[in-house]
């Protein structure tokens, strides 16, 4: 009898909802794996409230064995803010896409960031609206062909891609953690997500991680082209790294006496 080896799943993943509902090759599964491992390693499964948006992220509504709330497009940040304000012991995670965070929900995210709400936002950036069929989003790149920019995004007509973490780093106060990771470097992405959660646990301030993610379905790419897009095209506009790190700032302050 042959035994198929099973991939290791984070302990807080909900087995009943696996295999997950994302398209093959989608980045969500990997980002959520990083999140799951971070939750496991921090031992906070019993305190986490996971919120997801409309768009593909909603498919994660039953992804974890954590209390989860799925809400409307762009409203996950205010819902998590409302929960956190009402019960500060909970670890509130808002999970959304680039449409939910940078277009329809930008008011929510910008103001939560400006208020330094003690919640963690993880935003998967796949450069388009995926669930609705591949329309242009704030992060669609110049020249990129999408359903509502069939000849390629023209920055003259529609502007340049939104630099989310850069914007959030600029408007958050002390104690905020801001980073951009990528599904092309999961070890690093996980470390960012873990720090973003740690930052909330310590009550320092707003925590934000953008994860460069893939949508092979709407990009209409095969495996090879998908990776080419993530590794070569996306970094032209989206620089991976930490933009704001209160842990480093604390360390530096200690060293400088």
């Amino acid at each position: 009898m042959s035994v198929t080896p099973q991939p290791a799943m984070p302990k807080c993943w909900r087995v009943e909802s696996k295999p997950h509902k994302f398209c093959p090759g989608c980045g969500h599964g990997l980002v959520l794996k990083c999140l799951g491992e971070a939750i496991d390693e921090l031992g906070i499964q019993d305190r986490v409230v996971f919120g997801c948006d409309i768009g593909c992220s909603l498919l994660s509504w039953d992804f974890f064995n954590c209390d989860s709330v799925q809400t409307h497009h762009g409203r996950t940040t205010p819902v998590m803010t409302g929960i956190k304000r009402a019960n500060p012991d909970l670890i509130c995670i808002a999970y959304m896409g680039d449409g939910g965070g940078y277009a329809i929900g930008v008011g929510g995210i910008v103001n939560a960031a400006a208020r330094n709400e003690k919640v963690t936002v993880i935003l998967a950036n796949n450069t388009l609206y995926a669930m609705t069929g591949g329309q242009m989003s704030p992060t669609t790149m110049p020249g990129q062909k999408v359903e509502t920019a069939p000849y390629g995004r023209d920055p003259e007509a529609t502007g340049m891609p939104t630099q989310g973490p850069e914007m959030i780093a600029a408007i958050t106060g002390a104690g905020a953690y801001v980073a951009r990771g990528t599904m092309a470097n999961l070890r690093q992405l996980k470390s960012y997500i873990k720090k973003a959660l740690q930052n909330q646990i310590e009550g320092n301030g707003f925590s934000f991680v953008e994860a460069l993610s893939a949508c092979p379905t709407n990009w209409r790419t095969n495996a090879e082209k998908t990776w080419e897009f993530i590794e070569k095209e996306m970094p032209k506009y989206y620089k991976v790294g930490e933009l704001k790190n209160p842990f480093e700032a604390k360390k530096e302050a200690q060293q400088n006496g």
């Binding site: 807080c12 909900r14 499964q45 019993d46 305190r47 409230v49 409309i54 909603l58 509504w61 039953d62 974890f64 064995n65 954590c66 209390d67 989860s68 709330v69 799925q70 809400t71 409307h72 409203r75 205010p78 819902v79 998590m80 803010t81 409302g82 929960i83 956190k84 304000r85 009402a86 019960n87 012991d89 909970l90 008011g107 929510g108 910008v110 103001n111």
Partner: protein, 362 residues
């Protein structure tokens, strides 16, 4: 910090917005989320002055979408949470309250109606009846109280928290600009001293134990994959709503038995209706009144029983037939004739109602 905001009975002379803030305090509301819009602002002003003294919280959000959704979050966390809005803010509030309807969340929203459509006036109207009773995508499964004076504002804000948490439908107190801004005498009281027990709240998320280990996780969504799945869920909501309606529905009526004409009005307009009724009866005219206190669910059976024969129903409202629409819908098939007295966005006086009734009964 934790002493009661009100002990014994306190007579006060204050604005409706102040009354709402005191009622929320008395009802043990724990957190308010709000966004400024006239004429409800002073609810936030009074709340933010009192809240810290009693360990209550407040968050001013960036818009009504966030005010509504943070309220939803507060309720999910198990707190007696509320918000307040008006006019275009009420329009935005329909999105979060539609989610509350879908997830059966006991949100409480105070609406102080202003003129419409759009920005219109910041003063007064009864034009938010459609929006508050049936706004949002869905079937309007919510509870809407329409108080007519400051005492009722106090009573029904307290009651709204209990109805919401007992039946788990979003609940609204539909006031208006006059009620919000004018001063009137009111008796403030501690609900417990009047034997009113506050329905205990319960968290939806963050219950004790580790999800998936000690208990099932709370998995809340408002998205369904297939039509049948949503259909099933809604059937349960409809059944719950219907069962609840009989217990929740409220109305007031007087002089209806022998009436040739029944005046129908709600909210502050009812004050004019009641005065007109008294004057007309004193003159020997066979007039009665019917006042829906819950606009949703609507006291349909009770009104249907009165809308018989060749009676006339005079509907007085500060809107172009929003109450009339509810009435017509609920008494469909009845023989009574409907006579409108519509004054959208302006108040209605006793004299106007008296004159109209005399004209109709001539």
């Amino acid at each position: 910090m934790s002493e009661k905001p009100i002990t014994g009975e306190k007579r006060a002379f204050m604005t409706g917005n102040e009354v709402v803030a005191w009622a929320a305090l008395a009802a043990n509301a724990e957190i308010m989320y709000g966004y400024p819009i006239t004429p409800q602002n002073e609810i936030m002003h009074y709340w933010t002055r009192q809240a810290p003294k009693f360990g209550r919280k407040f968050l001013q959000t960036e818009d009504e979408l966030s005010a509504g959704f943070t309220t939803v979050g507060g309720v999910l966390a198990g707190r007696r949470a509320f918000t307040a809005t008006a006019g275009p803010g009420n329009t935005l509030m329909q999105e979060p309250m539609s989610m509350a309807e879908a997830m059966r969340l006991p949100t409480v929203t105070i609406v102080q109606q202003r003129g419409g459509p759009s920005t219109a006036t910041v003063i007064y109207s009864q034009q938010e009846v459609n929006l508050t009773t049936y706004g949002g995508n869905g079937e309007g499964m919510r509870i809407v109280y329409s108080p007519s004076n400051h005492q009722e504002l106090f009573d029904y804000v307290i009651k709204a928290f209990n109805t919401a948490w007992k039946y788990r439908f979003p609940t609204f107190v539909l006031g208006d600009g006059y009620q919000a801004k004018m001063r009137e005498s009111v008796t403030l009281y501690d609900p417990a001293e009047r034997g009113i027990e506050m329905v205990p709240t319960e968290p939806y998320v963050g219950k004790p134990g580790c999800p998936g280990v000690d208990r099932e996780p709370g998995l809340y969504r408002n998205t369904y994959n297939v039509e049948e799945e949503l259909y099933e869920v809604l059937q349960q909501h409809f059944a719950d709503y219907e069962k609840m309606s009989k217990e929740v529905v409220e109305y007031a009526a007087e002089g209806t038995d022998d009436a040739d004409l029944i005046i129908i009005g709600h909210g502050v307009v009812f004050r004019g209706v009641r005065e007109a009724f008294k004057e007309l009866r004193a003159e020997g005219l066979k007039v009665g009144y019917f006042r829906p206190i819950t606009l949703r669910p609507f006291p349909a059976e009770q009104l249907k029983a009165l809308a018989t024969g060749n009676r006339k129903l005079l509907i007085a409202e500060s809107a172009q037939g929003q109450l009339a629409k509810l009435v017509k819908d609920h008494i469909y098939g009845c023989t009574a004739e409907i006579v409108p007295l519509f004054k959208p966005g302006v108040g209605i006086t006793t004299e106007q109602i008296v004159a109209k009734v005399k004209e109709v009964l001539k």
